[in-house]
């Protein structure tokens, strides 16, 4: 890290402290936690874009898979649902995968021609009907078990921290499928394919109620930190809080948020150290060589597509981990809250603003843009109130403009992205 980076990080700390002193420590810690998670995501995207030049527009999908992992890992299982149709659902899914696997295998064994195409299609079609028959019955049985409260299979009931690596694994699996098909073709194709998979993952989360209750949401997820109410009821905590001059309610909420901050910071630092090591290793040099001149790297005997696949999976896995962290922080999985603007494009703004190719830059960009994202809403409304101040009360235009303040974010983010790309494409902390 050079002087400039140190100064910028110091400024970031000051900004958060400033929020703490001027508004409240609660919101300062909220911004800090949001910033830490965003920084992890930005690190993952930076690995893909900064190190390898891969354009991933599906970050939202990988984040959502991380969120799903929290439900699948930490929620206690629903025994009635498992009894009713759990095995049938699993069998259905297994049959579906088996169909795909046999079709691919047969295809690889037969000679090219119309016969091969016909056999593959027949196998796929036949398999699809069996799969639907087994699967649909199971789903119906599972979803009919107490639909108001459960209606899904639940998870494994393991500690919630475990879900973070699981989120990474799920995201890595999805990335493998996408990377295998779209990498090695034109660079735009990866972007389009990731855009598609992200939308589809969200559709699946919204519609497959047996998996994670769909739009009915899973609330009250287990937490890695204590609950506020338990803290407030514990005599020793109240004593310590009053000793610090805080009332127990505020103190408990600060304690919980700080607990999250330490966990997230630990993950961020671990990943940052790993990324820095990777960047300066021979592997990192090779990746940059591929990024800067694919033809030359290929001529030197590097397998460009395989390396791209590798780095794409790693970056997506990091996004999955961050997604699991975010859902843990929220304490609930709400598929409707996944918006591409918030979960894909915001991360891109972070990476570009921070400085693509530089891990510290990505982390700084993540924290800074997260800070702005939270604050722009406040300032946007204030700005709209300022320009509408002269208008008559009750005028349609005034009401419309005030309502639209929320959409200022989109515009602001777009303008920031375009300005940085145009005038400072290397970002705040440029790559050396």
């Amino acid at each position: 890290m050079n002087m400039r980076a140190v100064l910028l990080f110091a400024l970031m700390v000051l900004l958060i402290l400033f929020t703490g002193f001027t508004s409240s420590w609660n919101s300062a810690l909220f911004i800090l936690n949001f910033g830490l998670i965003s920084a992890v995501m930005a690190l993952g995207v930076n690995l893909q874009w900064g190190l390898a030049g891969l354009f991933n527009v599906g970050i939202m999908g990988f984040t959502a898979l991380g969120g799903l992992a929290v439900v699948l890992t930490s929620v206690p299982p629903v025994p009635e649902a498992w009894e009713a149709g759990g095995l049938r659902v699993i069998a259905g899914l297994a049959l579906g995968s088996l169909t795909l696997a046999t079709a691919i295998y047969t295809r690889s064994k037969m000679a090219m021609g119309n016969a091969r195409a016909a056999v593959t299609l027949l196998m796929l079609g036949f398999g699809f009907f069996i799969y639907r028959y087994v699967f649909d019955g199971g789903v119906e049985a599972v979803e009919s078990i107490n639909p108001a409260q459960t209606g899904y299979l639940g998870g494994l009931g393991l500690p919630v921290i475990l879900s973070w690596p699981v989120g990474g694994l799920l995201a890595a699996g999805a990335a493998w499928i996408i990377g295998k098909t779209a990498l090695g073709l034109r660079s735009d194709y990866l972007a389009i394919a990731t855009l598609g998979i992200a939308e589809i993952i969200i559709f699946i989360l919204k519609n497959e109620d047996w998996l994670a209750r769909g739009v009915k949401n899973v609330v009250g997820l287990p937490r890695p930190v204590p609950y506020e109410i338990d803290l407030q009821n514990s005599a020793s905590f109240v004593e310590r809080a009053t000793g610090l001059g805080l009332d127990p309610t505020t103190a408990s909420s600060l304690y919980v948020k700080l607990g999250y901050s330490f966990l997230f910071a630990a993950v961020l630092i671990l990943l940052l150290v790993l990324s820095q090591l990777a960047l300066s290793s021979p592997w990192g040099r090779m990746m940059r060589a591929i990024r800067d001149n694919e033809v030359a790297a290929e001529a030197m005997g590097k397998d460009v597509t395989a390396r791209h696949l590798q780095v794409f999976i790693l970056g997506s896995a990091i996004c999955g981990i961050a997604g699991a962290m975010l859902t843990t922080l929220d304490g609930q999985l709400t598929p409707t809250s996944y918006q591409p603007l918030r979960f894909t494009f915001l991360i891109w703004v972070m990476v570009i603003v921070g400085g693509s190719g530089n891990n510290y830059g990505a982390v700084l960009g993540g924290m800074l843009v997260a800070f702005l994202w939270v604050q722009v809403e406040v300032y946007g409304l204030a700005f709209m109130q300022l320009i509408t101040a002269g208008m008559a009360d009750g005028s349609a235009l005034k009401a419309h403009l005030l309502d639209s303040a929320a959409h200022m974010r989109l515009l602001t983010m777009g303008v920031i992205l375009l300005l940085v790309l145009r005038f400072s494409p290397r970002g705040l902390i440029p790559e050396k």
Binding site: G53, G196, H407, L418
Partner: protein
């Protein structure tokens, strides 16, 4: 008679909506494919360009409606279309001058262009939401049906009805006219020929004295017209909602890639392939089977392959299949 009933039900729920949707996708995919052919990048802002142009059409339509101007049986929006195209074209030319031109001069990698188009998408999306709001807008007026279900039943005496909405008829007719004009322009006029030459081989075209900036300008003008028309037709047929237009990006890209990026004919074919796959796979065949199958073979459920929620998944699967097996698309596209 039952076979006829089945056919009519099939036409009513699959053939007609599929054709209209296909025409809308084809017009959208033509815009994507033209930008890809001439400017050589996948324009992520295309869905929002459609929304942007449509928004102006809606605003002018509302103006016409309150001024008492109407087009009789056809929707007023058709009268407002030229204004929407003009506004959209002005905006696109301005973005080209302010944003894209710089990167063209720098000759950056295509992926940087894609990223820049993402920024433009943000701005357009923000503007649309700021001006017209994120909600649903309906702006169709005029006669609702060319043939209503009841009229059809009385005419033919069949149990099953067939409805053709005015918007569906207009979509298909407009699409045919637009495509005919576009192909005439590309194949017969001097500017169109220079555009094709530029798309085939940029260096050779430059050597023979074609002005690249002029080609680019015409491309944006045509794209503005195509996007606004596609957006307006879609909005008339369904409804206008900014987020839906963003989501249309996936089927439109899929259509352009299935047909072969950079190939206008392919874009049209791709649009129909995607539209019919979506409709065929998500349609519940219970009714059709009810007419043609004997009692014993009747399906219990809806006989639907996939629920309609997954219609985007269909275009995605087709996209993946094409990328895996035939990356240049059905018609030969420009590059892998």
């Amino acid at each position: 008679m039952d076979v006829l009933n089945a056919l009519v039900a099939f036409a009513n729920f699959v053939l007609i909506p599929g054709t209209a949707y296909g025409a809308q996708l084809a017009l959208g995919a033509l815009g994507v494919t033209l930008i890809y052919g001439i400017l050589r990048f996948s324009n992520f802002a295309h869905g929002d360009t459609m929304a942007f142009g449509t928004m102006f059409v809606i605003l002018v339509t509302w103006g016409f409606q309150s001024a008492g101007i109407s087009a009789g049986p056809v929707p007023t929006a058709l009268l407002a279309l030229p204004f929407g195209i003009a506004a959209c074209a002005l905006f696109l030319l301005a973005t080209d001058k302010v944003v894209y031109k710089f990167y063209r001069r720098e000759r950056v990698k295509p992926v940087v262009f894609v990223m820049v188009s993402l920024g433009v998408m943000f701005v357009m999306n923000g503007l649309v939401r700021l001006i017209i709001g994120p909600g649903d807008q309906r702006f169709a007026d005029g006669e609702r049906f060319i043939i209503a279900v009841r009229d059809f039943r009385e005419m033919t005496g069949l149990r099953e009805g067939l409805a053709i909405k005015t918007t569906q008829g207009i979509t298909v007719i407009t699409a045919v006219i637009v495509v005919a004009l576009l192909f005439w322009f590309l194949n017969k006029t001097r500017t169109g020929k220079s555009m094709r030459a530029f798309s085939d081989n940029e260096d050779l075209a430059l050597l023979s004295g074609i002005n690249p900036e002029r080609v680019v300008m015409y491309t944006w003008l045509i794209v503005a017209a195509l996007a606004t028309i596609a957006g307006t037709l879609y909005g008339l047929d369904k409804s206008f909602k900014p987020f839906t237009y963003f989501q249309l990006l996936l089927p439109i890209f899929a259509a352009a890639i299935v047909g072969g990026l950079g190939n206008p004919l392919g874009a049209i074919a791709g649009g129909f392939v995607i539209a019919f796959s979506e409709v065929l796979i998500t349609y519940a065949y219970k009714k059709v089977f009810g007419y043609i199958l004997p009692e014993a073979l009747q399906p219990d459920g809806l006989a639907q392959l996939l629920s309609t929620d997954y219609k985007f998944a269909v275009s995605f699967v087709i996209l993946i299949a094409v990328l895996l097996f035939k990356p240049t698309g059905l018609f030969k596209g420009q590059s892998v």
